[in-house]
């Protein structure tokens, strides 16, 4: 699991709260400040898009599992659901959905179900895009 937005923001505090020994000042500290600045910028993107991305990904995976439920004998009804829109609640559901998705994809490949295999690859591309973080165009130093 990539770090969540709360992990990142707590981390930005934790890594700056302790100044460290003298040999870790100067260039090393400057590098650390640069990383914290970059993380803060990426965190702004995640704050704007992260919850929506999780809601959509969960819906897309649930839809893919439901579509394959009859053919692959999946018990989609037993998968968890949440009305909460916190990152942690959505991630708990996401973990269960992704585990089911991995199992389905393995079964799809086992049956050489090409159409569904391709649909799952398209789903992966969409999932990756939803969680995309855009690197700022930093100039070289």
């Amino acid at each position: 699991m990539t770090p969540s937005l709360p992990d990142i923001l707590v981390g930005n505090f934790m890594c700056m709260a302790d100044p460290g020994p003298p040999e870790q000042q100067g260039e090393f500290m400057a590098g650390k400040v640069g990383l914290v600045a970059l993380l803060s910028l990426l965190a702004a993107q995640e704050a704007e898009r992260g919850v929506a991305a999780r809601v959509e990904e969960n819906a897309l995976i649930r839809e893919a599992l439901a579509e394959a439920a009859v053919d692959y004998k999946l018990d989609v009804g037993s998968l968890p659901f949440t009305d909460e829109v916190t990152v942690s609640a959505l991630d708990r559901v996401n973990a269960a959905l992704r585990t089911a998705l991995i199992g389905l994809h393995e079964a799809v490949e086992g049956r050489q179900d090409t159409a569904r295999h391709h649909a799952m690859l398209r789903l992966y591309a969409r999932m990756a895009d939803l969680r995309r973080l855009d690197l700022p165009p930093l100039p070289a130093r």
Partner: protein
């Protein structure tokens, strides 16, 4: 006891003469080792050196003796620092470490910037792929590295590589990752042809892991901690992975066009590039990256969220490699 005092105690003992340490300063980057520059003063001589010490939590678990032997193997063949001393037990420094000579006058450019090499991109690119080909041209049998590195059979290179990094994901994954798991299955379904020769694989040869001079000359290839013997295409695929070139689709490694890079590598290595094999190793490169970032995310949590380099690795680069993997899986099936 400060780190400087510990270094002085170690060097005084091992060099058999009084040594003082000056200008000790940690260098940014280096998520798998703590890296420090310092000057060791002994017998009227000042030696500028680099200390690489294992951190409490690391991005990758690696064998520092292999890294040391790799430097010993290549410091006279390609631009690389000369190793000076190593202690796998840690001795006075408490954690395993090694010391190497410091290469002066160069800078490391971050691959995550726009035009990281500026006007020198072409010159650096030509040297970069020529040097990588030079590493791939060396017969491992005669190198110091051969004392410790396992020599795989050519037909086993791919499987050893996949097994290793798949196991890392299995061990460190804290959230299910369907994309990289699909990629691992795809790699196993259709293995690459064996390499024509098993060679030294640097393991992390890429933009950001070398020093270059203001005139564009490459002064030192760094970060040999993932060195091993295997299929040399592994290094080539890693070097040209899109992760290391976020802003310029016309080049690889933000240096030169792909076909030129491959031709330079092929000429310097004396090995041909099988495009099907390179496609396989390119997908593998993204799997390997995702495994490293998976470990970084775990270390970030386990270490109390204190190392921002692990956050960047476990977050931005992991998300980016999911994009790269998803696109590569689509291409394998001829999908847009």
């Amino acid at each position: 006891m400060s780190l400087a005092e510990r270094l002085e105690a170690y060097l005084t003992r091992t060099w058999g003469q009084p040594v003082t340490v000056a200008d000790l300063s940690r260098i940014p980057g280096g998520a798998s080792r703590e890296t420090y520059r310092f000057v060791a003063n002994a017998d009227g001589e000042a030696r500028p050196l680099i200390l690489r010490r294992d951190p409490p939590g690391s991005l990758i678990e690696t064998d520092r003796s292999l890294e040391y032997l790799a430097l010993e193997s290549f410091c006279d063949r390609v631009p690389a620092p000369r190793p000076v001393a190593m202690d796998a037990e840690g001795a006075e420094l408490e954690r395993p470490f090694f010391i190497m000579e410091r290469v002066e006058g160069g800078a490391v450019a971050s691959p995550f910037t726009v035009m990281p090499y500026g006007a020198h991109a072409r010159a650096i690119g030509e040297s970069f792929f020529d040097i990588l080909g030079g590493i791939a041209s060396a017969d491992p049998a005669g190198l110091p590295l051969a004392k410790a590195a396992e020599l795989p059979a050519p037909e086993d290179c791919w499987r050893i590589a996949v097994d290793h990094w798949a196991a890392v994901i299995e061990a460190d994954e804290q959230h299910p990752q369907p994309i990289v798991r699909a990629a691992i299955r795809a790699l196993r379904r259709k293995p690459p042809p064996p390499p024509s020769a098993v060679r030294v694989v640097h393991g992390d040869y890429r933009g950001g892991n070398f020093l270059h001079a203001p005139d564009g000359a490459i002064l030192a290839v760094l970060d040999w901690e993932m060195v091993h013997l295997g299929d040399p295409l592994e290094d080539l695929a890693w070097a040209i992975d899109p992760l290391w070139n976020p802003f310029d689709a016309t080049t690889v490694s933000a240096m030169i066009p792909r076909d030129e890079a491959l031709a330079l590598w092929s000429k310097a290595s004396g090995l041909s590039v099988d495009e099907d094999a390179l496609t396989w190793w390119s997908l593998f490169a993204a799997v390997k990256g995702q495994a490293i970032w998976t470990s970084a995310a775990k270390e970030y949590r386990d270490g109390g969220f204190k190392e921002p380099i692990l956050a960047v690795s476990g977050w931005y680069t992991a998300r980016r490699h999911d994009e790269i993997l998803a696109a590569a899986l689509m291409r394998l099936e001829g999908l847009q």
